[in-house]
C-alpha cells in the first residue's frame, strides 16, 4: 500500500542462540498510533529496537529478515543514518545532564557537529517544544540545565529532542513506566496531538494504555506476533485465545 511506512518481513531477532523475536510480519501505515503489548520477555522491546537498529548495539545480538522503512530495508542502509531518521524515546527520561534545555532539544544536531544558524536553531527549539507541549513551561528558562524539570517534563523534553530531528516515525519504549499518573496522562495526551504529523509505535506493558491511545494494537507472546488488529476489535472481541487470556488477566 502507498500508505505503508514500516513493514517487517519475516523478521527474526536473536541474543546469541536465543531466538527472541520469531518471524514477524507486520505493516504499519502513516500517521497511525500503534501499541505493542505483551507480557515481560515476549520480545516487544527487542522488536522495537530492531526497527531503528539499536538492537545490534548489544554484544551478541543479531537479526534476520527485512524491515522496510518507506520501502527501503533498514538493514541495507547505514545504521547511523537510520537512527537519525527514526526518533526514539526511552523508559527513563534521559536528557543530557551537561546540556541546557535549549541545547538538549537540538542535541541531535550539536552532537553530530551539524552547524545551524542561531535563527534556525531558535526556530527548531520553539517548534519542537511546542509540539511536545512544553514550550510555555520552559520558554523563560531555556538556558538552564534540565535537572529542575519534573519527570513528565523531562520525558516531554526527550520527545522534543526526538521531534527536532524531523523524523517520520517515532518509537516509544515504555515511555510512561517511570512516570506518575498525572505525568503519564500529559504524555498520553501528547500522543493524540503528535499523530497528525508523525507515526508512533509505542511499546507498553500497560494494556489500558494501549487501549486508550492506539489505533491498532499488536500483541506479542513468546516472541511471536499473535494478533494485530484494530484496538476496538482487540479489546472487545480478540480473535486469538492467547490475546483474550492476556487482556483478561488470566495468564499465570
Amino acid at each position: 500500500m502507498e500508505n505503508t511506512i514500516v513493514k517487517a518481513e519475516n523478521y527474526n531477532s536473536y541474543f546469541g542462540d536465543n531466538h527472541v523475536v520469531k518471524d514477524v510480519n507486520i505493516s504499519i501505515h502513516k500517521n497511525e498510533v500503534i501499541a505493542v503489548m505483551g507480557p515481560s520477555g515476549c520480545g516487544k522491546t527487542t522488536f522495537l529496537r530492531g526497527i531503528n537498529r539499536m538492537h545490534e548495539l548489544i554484544p551478541g545480538a543479531t537479526s534476520k529478515g527485512k524491515i522496510l522503512l518507506d520501502g527501503e530495508n533498514v538493514y541495507d542502509m547505514n545504521a547511523i543514518y537510520v537512527r537519525a531518521k527514526i526518533g526514539m524515546v526511552f523508559q527513563r527520561p534521559n536528557p543530557f545532564p551537561n546540556l541546557s534545555i535549549y541545547e538538549n532539544v537540538v542535541a541531535g544536531y550539536l552532537l553530530n557537529g551539524i552547524k545551524l544558524s542561531k535563527a534556525d536553531k531558535d526556530a527548531i527549539v520553539e517548534k519542537s517544544l511546542t509540539s511536545a507541549a512544553l514550550w510555555k513551561e520552559v520558554k523563560d528558562s531555556l538556558h538552564k540545565k534540565g535537572t529542575f524539570l519534573s519527570g513528565g517534563q523531562q520525558q516531554r523534553l526527550c520527545i522534543a529532542r526526538a521531534i527536532a530531528m524531523q523524523p517520520e516515525l517515532i518509537l516509544f519504549d515504555e515511555p510512561t513506566s517511570a512516570l506518575d499518573p498525572i505525568s503519564t496522562s500529559s504524555v498520553e495526551a501528547l500522543f493524540h496531538e503528535l499523530k497528525a504529523n508523525y507515526t508512533l509505535i509505542i511499546v507498553t506493558h500497560n494494556m489500558q494504555q494501549a487501549a486508550r491511545v492506539s489505533d491498532r494494537t499488536a500483541f506479542f507472546y513468546m516472541g511471536e506476533l499473535v494478533e494485530f488488529d484494530d484496538t476496538k476489535q482487540m479489546f472487545t472481541a480478540p480473535r486469538d485465545q492467547r490475546t483474550q487470556n492476556y487482556i483478561t488477566g488470566r495468564f499465570s
Binding site: N52, M54, L57, P59, I80, Y81, V82, R83, A84, K85, G87, M88, F90, R92, N94, P95, F96, P97, N98, A107, G108, L110, L111, N112, G113, T147, C158, R161, A162, M165
Partner: protein, 281 residues
C-alpha cells in the same frame, strides 16, 4: 521479655560508644601530624623562602624555589603523558568490560598500583637514566607517570561505569556515531569524576621521593633543563632533613609544610569535585 530488651539496649549503646570512640581515635594521629608540621614549618615560609634557591652551606636564608619549580615541571610532564593514556585506557575498560583484553589489562593495572615506588625508580633508572647517560627530569617524569597511570585509569573507569547506559542510548538513538558519543557525551558528563581522578593522582605523586632518587636526583640550582637533574619538594625535604646543618633542618620543615598544604588542597579539591559530580547526575 522486658529484662532481655533492657540488656540488649545497654549492649547496643556500649557498642555504639566503642565505634564512635575508635572513629574519633583515627583523627588524632592526623591532627597531631598536621599541627606539628604547621607549627614547625609555618615560621619558615616567607616570600624569600619561596623565591630563592638554597644558600651556600653555612649561610642563613635561602629557599626552595628550585624544588618548587622542579616539582612543578616534572608533575606537568608526567601528567602530559599519563593523563591522555590513562583516560583512554579507562574508557576502553569501561566500554568493553567483558573482553579478555579488559580482564588482563585491568589485572596489570591493579598490580602496577601495588608496585613499590622505589622499584619503579630502579626500573626507570635502568631504562632511561643509564641509556641517556645521566639523571634527568625526563626520567623523573616517566617514573611519576608510571605511578599516576593506575589511579587515573581506575578512576576514569569507575566514573564512566557509573554513568547510566541510558545516556549513551539517548545519543546513539539520535544517530550520533560512537566516537562522538564518547567525546561529546560520555566524557563531558563524567568530567568531574575524571578530573578528580587526575587531582588524586597528582596528590599521590607530588610527595613521592623514592622514584626520584634514582631518576631526577636533585639540583641546587634553579634550572629548566629537563635533560639534566632537577630538584623536587620531597627530595629537598629528604636531603635537608638528613643533613647536619640546623639551617637546612629549618628549610626541611618549611618544605614539609608547603608540601602538606599542596596535598591537603588537592585532596579537598578532589572531594569537592566528586560531590559536585554526584549532584550533577
Amino acid at each position: 521479655m522486658e529484662p532481655k530488651l533492657g540488656i540488649r539496649n545497654v549492649k547496643s549503646m556500649i557498642f555504639k560508644g566503642v565505634i564512635i570512640f575508635f572513629a574519633f581515635l583515627i583523627t588524632v594521629p592526623l591532627i597531631i601530624v598536621l599541627l606539628y608540621i604547621i607549627k614547625q614549618g609555618i615560621t619558615q615560609v616567607n616570600w624569600s623562602f619561596l623565591t630563592h634557591v638554597p644558600a651556600p652551606t653555612g649561610e642563613k636564608g635561602g629557599g626552595i624555589a628550585n624544588a618548587l619549580l622542579g616539582s612543578f615541571i616534572m608533575v606537568m610532564m608526567a601528567s602530559v603523558v599519563a593523563v591522555p593514556v590513562g583516560i583512554l585506557a579507562g574508557i576502553y575498560l569501561s566500554e568493553n568490560p567483558g573482553t579478555k583484553l579488559a580482564y588482563y589489562s585491568g589485572l596489570c593495572v591493579d598490580i602496577l598500583q601495588g608496585v613499590p615506588s622505589i622499584v619503579v625508580g630502579i626500573v626507570v633508572y635502568f631504562w632511561v637514566v643509564k641509556p641517556l647517560g645521566g639523571f634527568s627530569a625526563i626520567a623523573g617524569s616517566i617514573a611519576l607517570a608510571i605511578m599516576m597511570l593506575p589511579i587515573i585509569i581506575r578512576s576514569t573507569e569507575q566514573t564512566l561505569k557509573l554513568l547510566p547506559d541510558s545516556l549513551k542510548e539517548a545519543a546513539l538513538s539520535l544517530g550520533v556515531p560512537y566516537h562522538r558519543v564518547i567525546i561529546k557525551v560520555i566524557i563531558p558528563c563524567g568530567f568531574a569524576g575524571i578530573l578528580s581522578g587526575i587531582t588524586l593522582s597528582i596528590a599521590r605523586i607530588i610527595g613521592e621521593t623514592a622514584p626520584l632518587l634514582f631518576t631526577a636526583l636533585g639540583n641546587n640550582f634553579l634550572t629548566m633543563k629537563i635533560t639534566g637533574p632537577m630538584d623536587s619538594l620531597p627530595h629537598v625535604i629528604f636531603s635537608y632533613a638528613t643533613s647536619p646543618y640546623d639551617d637546612w633542618h629549618d628549610l626541611a620543615w618549611g618544605a614539609s609544610f608547603i608540601l602538606l598544604m599542596f596535598v591537603l588542597t588537592l585532596n579537598i579539591v578532589t572531594k569537592l569535585l566528586t560531590r559536585k559530580w554526584k549532584i550533577q547526575l
